[in-house]
Symmetry: C2
Subunit: 494 residues, 2 copies
């Protein structure tokens, strides 16, 4: 999609070295300056990134998280930010910093997180906290936990400040940095911390610097995220496993009951059949539809990469399907398979469901639609492990646990002035940009927006194949270099 370039704006002079001529440079110049800086400092940048990645940052290691926070606090202070740790007992600190620009009319908040997913070192080919450079298919990549998710974003924001200072380019807006330490644990304290510092964290826009860019490798700007909720469903057969010969055909098999219950929730193309599942969806705007139409077509590449002989959705493209709610079976289990299988009628069968939501839907209502469907199939649904009396009194019993750690979808309209500013800055830095109304994944953006009285736009920099959340996480180095340019452009937004 094409959007008009913004008129070139001038920035206030307060941040400038006295001999700088930078005030006449346009936003794209910030990216050029970043590129020059990167080319001149690749070795020390790589060393600096390695240093950050070498600091263990998993939830099970609070001391490690504290060391990360202290390091990042000092890094912000060294770059002239007024910085502090926003704390709450029992929670990793939020690292907060502000660079005030006298005369600025806007405040831009950069969100990222410094914690990483848990690691199982035995699954890694290199040690997760020993950053290791490898060249794969001609591309240099650094392997370490959080290389992509999400220390790359933090390091890019810091390095962009250095590049701008070296080039004598000052910000035009007030810049704020909110770096969370608990994202991979589901951000259980973030909203509370933000609410306690509403004025500090407020901004005209929050830039969520997390996640991967488009699978095509092109820089991406994403305007929302799907909401997320879930259910765990357990259905019951006999009180304990029974011999499948002596009782087969007579004792109901819960694995079959579960299969039949789940099978009715979707057609064979992944379209949900649960009544009202698609009700209330806010339609995409023309601008959003146009953005999707102009996004790269990665279908064939992804099908090949994932060994897929077909996709769900009757031929619809991934980007369109991500703008619909989804019902996903995360896992199913009943008794044993493989070498441990025995000829048994299992006692129970379990399915874990993930429900993604789009704007216009409420997670509690979406859960209820699934529960209503289960009841419509003849089940007595309980919110507790059913008792003997309940199981003998009802032909079919399902225990449903509703995930309370849930939230709705959020989508920032692309035509908001602040959204147009972000698009222009990123385009100026990176040229071609993929604009997506929503990402398929979920981030609790709504909580951020409420606490900081702002809107959110996501600007990721990692490669999509960065193995985030699994072993051998890595960042393609060129994504880091590009990311420094992108962040420099955003740090000089008006």
């Amino acid at each position: 999609m094409r959007l008009p370039l913004l008129p070139i704006l001038f920035f206030s002079a307060s941040f400038l070295p006295s001999n700088s001529l930078a005030q006449i440079k346009p936003a794209s110049t910030a990216a050029s300056a970043a590129e020059q800086y990167v080319n001149a400092h690749k070795s020390e940048l790589t060393t600096g990134f390695d240093h950050l990645l070498a600091m263990p940052n998993v939830a099970a290691d609070p001391a490690g998280l504290r060391a990360n926070a202290q390091y990042l606090l000092a890094a912000l202070q060294k770059r002239g930010a007024s910085a502090q740790l926003l704390t709450l007992p029992g929670a990793p600190a939020v690292v907060y910093g502000e660079i005030r620009t006298p005369g600025a009319t806007h405040t831009i908040v950069f969100y990222a997180h410094y914690d990483g997913q848990p690691v199982t070192p035995s699954e890694w080919t290199t040690l997760p906290f020993t950053p290791t450079l490898k060249t794969i298919d001609g591309q240099e990549r650094i392997f370490a936990r959080s290389a992509g998710d999400d220390k790359a974003a933090i390091f890019a924001q810091l390095s962009a400040l250095d590049a701008l200072r070296a080039a004598g380019i000052a910000p035009k807006a007030n810049l704020r940095f909110v770096w969370e330490g608990e994202e991979e644990a589901g951000s259980p304290h973030l909203e509370q911390i933000l609410m306690q510092h509403r004025d500090l964290v407020h901004g005209d826009i929050w830039l969520i610097c997390d996640g991967p860019v488009d699978q095509s490798g092109q820089q991406t700007v994403v305007f929302g995220a799907r909401g997320d909720t879930g259910l765990e469903i357990t259905v019951y057969g006999p009180q304990h496993g029974l011999h499948s010969g002596h009782y087969g055909n007579w004792a109901p098999n819960p694995a079959m009951m579960l299969a039949q219950l789940l099978a009715g929730m979707e057609d064979s193309n992944g379209h949900a059949l649960i009544p009202h599942f698609y009700d209330g969806i806010a339609p995409l705007s023309e601008l959003e539809k146009q953005a999707i139409a102009e996004a790269p077509d990665n279908e064939a590449m992804l099908r090949k990469k994932f060994w897929l002989g077909r996709t769900d959705g009757n031929g619809a493209h991934l980007l369109n399907l991500l703008n619909l709610p989804s019902l996903n079976i995360n896992g199913i289990a009943s008794a044993q398979v493989g070498a441990r299988a025995t000829n048994v009628i299992p006692a129970s069968a379990i399915a874990d469901l993930d429900l993604r939501l789009v704007v216009g839907e409420d997670w509690r209502a979406q859960q209820q639609k699934v529960v209503d469907y289960i009841e419509s199939q003849g089940y007595f649904v309980t919110d507790h492990e059913p008792t003997r009396a309940e199981r003998t009194a009802h032909a079919r019993v399902a225990w449903v646990v509703r995930n309370q750690n849930s939230y709705n979808a959020v989508r920032t309209p692309m035509d908001l002035p602040m959204a147009q500013e972000v698009i222009a800055a990123v385009k100026a830095a990176r040229g071609k940009v993929v604009l997506l109304p929503t990402m398929g994944g979920s981030v609790p953006l709504g909580a951020m927006e409420r606490a900081a009285r702002t809107r959110t736009i996501t600007v990721p920099i990692a490669n999509f194949d960065d193995n985030q959340h699994t072993a051998n996480e890595n960042l393609r180095l060129q994504n880091l270099w590009n990311g420094i340019g992108t962040m420099a452009a955003l740090e000089t937004m008006p």
Copy 2:
């Protein structure tokens, strides 16, 4: 059901103590003699049974199995049998013994097995090879591995010989004992061993002394067993687990595919929908139908015991349903549930199926019906783990592993003269007897019948709630005492 009592037959005198008057005693007298013997020797019988149970007898302990075999060989020899071990390299020995009766016109073979299921001591409340007497609901039970399955049968056969000798009652037929040491491992060498000793193991009837009596507690005689086969089905989604947000609605979910595939195999009452599933079933004879009609109605008791709010089969009784083939899901698995669940589109989903067969069906054909059904649902079916090329070339791919350790059902007609003799002997010993055309479970009776050129009838003695195959296996002691009487009656059959 009522069957005419057989005329009282006299037995040959060769086995008798010289001063015995036993030759005028009817078959029921053998059971009476056994009862008197049991009442006079309960303490030493219990000690003897404990001694046998204390000998570890699991497949992982070949030395333990050898010790059991040697002990039982000596036990047979001590009772005047001509005994030997029938061996094959790598297989536990079959303990074989014969008591010849001059002038006998029939040969009766008693089959049992001395090996037990594997044990996980941590799951037991007492040690599996430390026989422990407990009184539960007023019933004395001995807890130990193989107490019910199947050393009780062996000990009853030996003790019945002692009781008969003490009462001066001799067998009328030749008696043969075939005690296997590999039943719980699926009898992989039994047929071969029997084929190498066809003349030794031949008999007019094989009495399979294994399994539990009817749930009502009444003595049971069973004339067949269902056949058994199985399939393991794996269906595929993406090559590795994918983020359910970023790819949900687009990447096919193999857990949903499996659910839909399985769901179509049966209706909601457990009736198979796979084409031709019930083809070719040999109908029950009038005598067999009558037997089922006269068997105890345990439905309500079993539903209560197993916490069942309904049963499959549209209200048909268990005993009728056991005379139909069954399709049972032994287990299903895809990714994780519970605390380990993550929001993922799994890479694959697996189901393990157990197929029970009745007379008239062939296990290879029954497997093929399921495979044909899977193909009819649009699957490309492989007999190997599918390659990348196969997975990308086909919309739906299933890997099906067909269980080759399979066999067909066997059913001995109740109106055979030898069947009538067995019914009469057991009725004379125990009074009321439950006659069942088939058991729901499976035993490779066909292999025994072919090798020994005989027919089989099953006479179990264990209580149905003996926890066979799980922890805390136990035998209700009264079942052992009754079993000694039943075996005494069978050992004096004409």
